[in-house]
Amino acid sequence: MTGSPGEPAEPAEPAYLRVPWSVLDDYHCFGCSPHNPRGLALRFTARDAGIATTFRLDRGHESYPGVVHGGIVSVICDETMGNLIVLRLGRTAFTTGMRLRYLEPLRVGVEYTCVARLRPTGGRGQAAPPDGAAGGAEGGVLQAEAEILDAAGALLATATASYLPTPIEVARERFALRPDEADRVVAALDAIASEAAAPAVSQADAAPRVVAHRTVAHQDVPHQPVPQPAAAPAAVTDHLREH
């Protein structure tokens, strides 16, 4: 969009990827929902074969004075890697394990970018949990990695994680969704999966290398536990994702 003559043009809106949960009126994912007042409201853009999100956190996410809480850094890495699977493969998955290396503290009020990509499976290789432990896997465990970078590109944190894809029939039972809501989410996931499977150059591959911008504006909001689906089994993971 351009402004009036003589006025500088507004920067183009980044090409945000649409999470399938956005078909629901009030989805509350702590990481990516715009409807959760205590959440991070992250938005994602394509970044090569992966995805990226840019964020700036306020004092509501502080640990030491001026330092972003390490647990929040972990959430952002997990959220970005988890949404990578959702947005690139059209599959829902639960986190089964994650490992972080904190290189340098993140500062409150400073902009950072988290970039996630899939890792080749079979490299280090992680055995899938016993069948049934998470409702049965649709394929093997997926491996992902994430990096948090500052505006100059300096590496501040790295993460690796494994994700167990969840068949949509299982997800229907475990997510707190009405049947009609589940149908809409499934349709959105199917659309993503179809695009991912298309042989032609995908829209994601052709997307500009831009990243999302989001400022969390809920000052001094105390930490709250991440909302958990009511029917979620404890056996799946102690770091249960909504997607």
Partner: protein, 91 residues
């Protein structure tokens, strides 16, 4: 990130780690001896050393234990723990 091969040798890892250290510290690779104390290299600090370790982990697709990371103090030491970890992962 490259996938480490079973045939990776200690010398090859030393060469790769030397390149990463040189890049991170902005010094010529030729100036870095394998047995030199990493934290004594000009421009080095604990954050930069950790950053080097993170890049080495990505390069070889390994996850070093913190005890290993904080115990090593040379390029040669990093190469040794990487090789050990690769061997453990392959076992």
């Amino acid at each position: 990130m490259s996938t480490a091969q079973a045939t990776t040798t200690h010398d090859e890892i030393v060469a790769t780690v030397t390149g990463i250290v040189a890049q991170e510290l902005g010094v010529p690779a030729e100036s870095l001896a394998p047995d030199a104390d990493l934290r004594s290299v000009e421009g080095a600090d604990s954050v930069k050393v950790l950053r080097m370790i993170a890049k080495v982990e990505r390069e070889y697709d390994v996850e070093l234990e913190d005890e290993q990371v904080f115990a090593v103090n040379s390029i040669d030491g990093v190469a040794t723990v990487v090789l050990d970890t690769l061997a453990q992962d392959a076992a």
